[in-house]
């Protein structure tokens, strides 16, 4: 049958003419070009590691990662790929995702959507899935109110796309650029970072004081790459995960409920965009359960966050419009959801969530002023893969915390928790090395990403936090957050807060067969 089809195809007029025109000349051209006595093929090129003279020796750095064509986070242009193996290197050795499951695969392309591969790929064959057009279309649509939030780490990354030194602070310029791009309101994810501390901190206190029977240690839940990693490889530890949503998702939920109500806007008209240093956020926003506003309004199709752009995508949009970012006059975030504390800001660094949480938890547990030490919690700052600290909290005792970034560093800690040998009460996990400041959606300032760039971005964040006055460095003193509780949510982990700001997790353990770690 197949053959018959082939035959029919051959007898088309086009095929006939082509063949007829071509055939007689095949020999002639071959002779003229004088090159075809060789068998076909083999005139190309391969990277050095495959050029082994006597051959069958396996090379270490080879191949590439598999990418799900439906991935909401990353995509690859095969034409640019040179099989250098760097994507696999970071996925396997830095993130311990590839190669940590048995073959054959079950029915998933195992990926935590972190986008570190986009930072390592030397040819930029792997990039974020481009959502700029969807956002531009929404901006053009007169029916839509397009509201944007910017993650903490974006303001120390964006400038690098415009030639500024690593870690240059461009918060005000970013706000100005977003306004010029036509966003109706520009808000700050730092606001919901503070809100996260209120919710997650309260949850921690409930676990420590026994008010909740959820297990210790509590794991942070704001890094969606880390969350998916835990769902794949340590689903048995999901009860340890804080139920608090990430700041991005809290923001979307608050935006389309509280803000919509307060401003008397139809939530269906709001198109909610976030600028993130992260590609996993693109995955996170489309998790089926993240339509709290939809449930609140009884309109299931309302998503809390409609589109996520990486810092690189935002930079492309700004460049395409010819906006000269470094020379823009600084502008301020819009009110109601625009205030963020220094504690919310440092969420972008490894150790930042912990430091922010500790400041507020200390205050709530002791009702005393936060000691100076907690405004510069050195043991959990910096780029060491695993950091820990013990804090004496009057009336409570010693609280032990750990901070982990880069998923390879997470495994030993998680194994210890599994064995019941972890001494910690609270562990901050961040998927990307360095935290969000070096997330998979940040500018490709060094290839592969270097600790120098990471350190520069981190230093700017801590420097900014230190430059604020004391109240402005505490999540529980964010006046807009307090207004949100007063006017709408009542108190942390209230019934409504639970509906809008908390979530449950998906056991993905059946999507793979995890390799036993030796």
């Amino acid at each position: 049958m197949d053959k018959q089809k082939g035959l029919n195809k051959e007898m088309t007029r086009r095929g006939f003419l082509k063949l007829f025109g071509g055939l007689g000349l095949v020999g002639a051209t071959a002779t003229l070009s004088g090159c075809s006595k060789e068998p076909m093929g083999g005139e190309g090129w391969m990277p050095q590691q495959y050029q082994v003279a006597a051959s069958n020796y396996p090379t270490q750095v080879r191949g590439r990662i598999p990418i799900d064509p439906m991935s909401p986070s990353i995509m690859r242009d095969d034409e640019k790929c040179i099989l250098c193996g760097q994507c696999l290197e970071v996925c396997q050795n830095v993130q311990t995702v590839f190669g940590y499951y048995e073959l054959p695969v079950v029915n998933d392309t195992i990926c935590v959507n972190c986008g570190q591969c986009t930072l390592w790929c030397p040819t930029a064959a792997i990039t974020e899935k481009d959502d700029t057009q969807r956002v531009l279309d929404a901006i053009e649509d007169p029916e839509k109110i397009v509201i944007v939030q910017t993650a903490p780490a974006t303001r120390v990354g964006l400038g690098e796309e415009f030639g500024l030194p690593a870690g240059t602070w461009v918060e005000g310029q970013q706000v100005a650029a977003l306004k010029q791009l036509g966003f109706d309101k520009v808000f700050d994810t730092n606001f919901t970072a503070d809100l996260t501390i209120m919710e997650e901190g309260t949850e921690l206190i409930n676990r420590i004081t026994g008010k909740s029977d959820a297990p210790l240690p509590q794991f942070t839940s704001c890094s969606p790459g880390w969350v998916k990693f835990c769902e794949y490889y340590y689903p048995d530890l999901l009860p340890n995960m804080s139920s608090a949503k990430s700041p991005q998702q809290m923001f979307g939920a608050v935006l389309k409920t509280y803000y919509a109500k307060k401003m008397n806007i139809d939530p269906e008209k709001i198109f909610s965009v976030s600028i993130m240093p992260c590609t996993a956020k693109k995955f996170e926003c489309q998790r089926p359960e993240f339509n709290s506003a939809g449930k609140y309004w009884n309109k299931e199709e309302i998503r809390d966050v409609d589109a996520v752009l990486t810092v690189r995508e935002l930079a492309r949009m700004i460049k395409a419009k010819g906006i000269d970012l470094p020379n823009l006059p600084e502008e301020k975030y819009d009110p109601v959801l625009g205030e963020g504390s220094g504690a919310g800001l440092i969420f972008g660094n490894t150790g930042g969530v912990m430091e922010a949480a500790v400041r507020t938890a200390y205050f709530v547990l002791t009702e005393q002023d936060v000691p100076d030490l907690l405004f510069d919690l050195k043991p959990i700052r910096g780029l060491d893969g695993i950091k820990e600290a013990a804090l004496d909290v009057p009336g409570v005792g010693t609280i032990k915390v750990a901070v982990v970034h880069g998923l390879s560093n997470a495994r030993p800690i998680l194994e210890a928790v599994r064995r019941g040998e972890s001494p910690y009460h609270f562990i901050e996990f961040m998927c990307c090395p360095g935290g969000c400041i070096a997330g998979g959606g940040q500018p490709r300032t060094a290839l592969p990403p270097s600790d120098e760039v990471r350190a520069a971005r981190i230093a700017t964040m801590y420097g900014k936090d230190a430059s604020y006055n004391r109240e402005h460095r505490l999540s529980h003193e964010n006046s807009e957050v307090l207004t949100l509780y007063n006017d709408f949510l009542e108190h942390p982990i209230s019934h409504l807060a639970h509906e809008l700001l908390h979530t449950t997790y998906t056991d993905r353990g059946n999507k793979l067969k995890a390799k036993k770690l030796s």
Binding site: L7, V26, M40, N56, R62, D78, C81, N107
Partner: protein
């Protein structure tokens, strides 16, 4: 002894490295409308190898399997027997290779191949037939084909065909997940690329109705399958045959011809 490749389909994760390696090494072009990997990849003149995505059932659960396809480099290649111009030749090391300078463009090879491998460059004004060459120049130097050398999960093993057959047997006998069939051991009289799998081959798009008799034995029947071509093109082809033969003769005199 003749070289071959053992493909263990249980290890493939669908990264498509092999398809890119093939393009890099053989200077094939990329065409977004004709993907080499995914749901419906196209084996064509630019894609000498493809990796298809298949969702199948195993123990009542959906599972994914990826299948690399390319020329199987038959031990008794039907394409070579069908080609009166000797543009297809089986080398002693295993690869069945195609010499464009000998090709008259009749495309009998395409009709003869039981696996539907050779493809025609429909879009070229001077079209040729194309297919995987098993990186014959690499193999001649004792190196593995390009696709084999890049695979990050060791799906493919390059070596002596008889040793690979023994390895395949050992693997499927010692692990009850595998189906007890080595594809290519006997298909079309035996191929140099052989496959093992934990899913029955027919569910993965393999032709399992291929004869186990070496096809050249009755390739005449195959040619009879194509009367339309044979009749209308006969005269032209005969002319071309004579022409190519003369070129061969000249080439021989120059002592530059390919081994026959």
């Amino acid at each position: 002894m003749s070289k071959g490749v053992l493909v263990d389909l249980t290890k493939c994760v669908g990264c498509g490295s092999c398809t890119v390696a093939c393009k890099l090494w053989n200077k094939r072009e990329f065409d977004k409308d004709s993907p080499a990997v995914g749901l419906n990849p196209q084996l064509d003149d630019q894609n000498w190898t493809t990796v298809s995505f298949n969702e199948v059932q195993k123990d009542g659960q959906p599972v994914w399997r990826f299948v690399k396809q390319q020329c199987l480099h038959c031990e008794h290649p039907a394409c070579a027997s069908a080609c009166f111009a000797k543009a297809f030749q089986k080398t002693p090391e295993g690869p069945v290779i195609y010499y464009p300078h000998l090709c008259v463009g009749c495309r009998y090879c395409m009709l003869a191949c039981p696996f539907d491998i050779p493809k025609f460059e429909w879009d070229k004004s001077f079209p040729l037939v194309t297919k995987c060459q098993m990186c014959s120049t690499k193999v001649a130097e004792g190196q593995a084909p390009a696709c084999v050398s890049v695979c990050p999960t060791d799906v493919m093993t390059f070596g002596e065909r008889d040793e690979l057959l023994a390895l395949a047997k050992k693997t499927i006998d010692s692990d009850n997940r595998y189906v007890k069939h080595i594809y290519g051991e006997n298909e079309a009289g035996g191929t140099n690329w052989i496959y093992i799998s934990d899913i029955p081959f027919e569910e993965l798009g393999f032709r399992t109705d291929v004869t186990t008799r070496p096809i050249p034995e009755y390739s005449h029947d195959f040619l009879k399958y194509t009367p339309a071509v044979a009749i209308s093109w006969g005269a032209l082809l005969t002319g071309l045959y004579a022409y190519t033969k003369r070129r061969n003769k000249i080439a021989k005199e120059e002592n530059k011809d390919v081994p026959m």
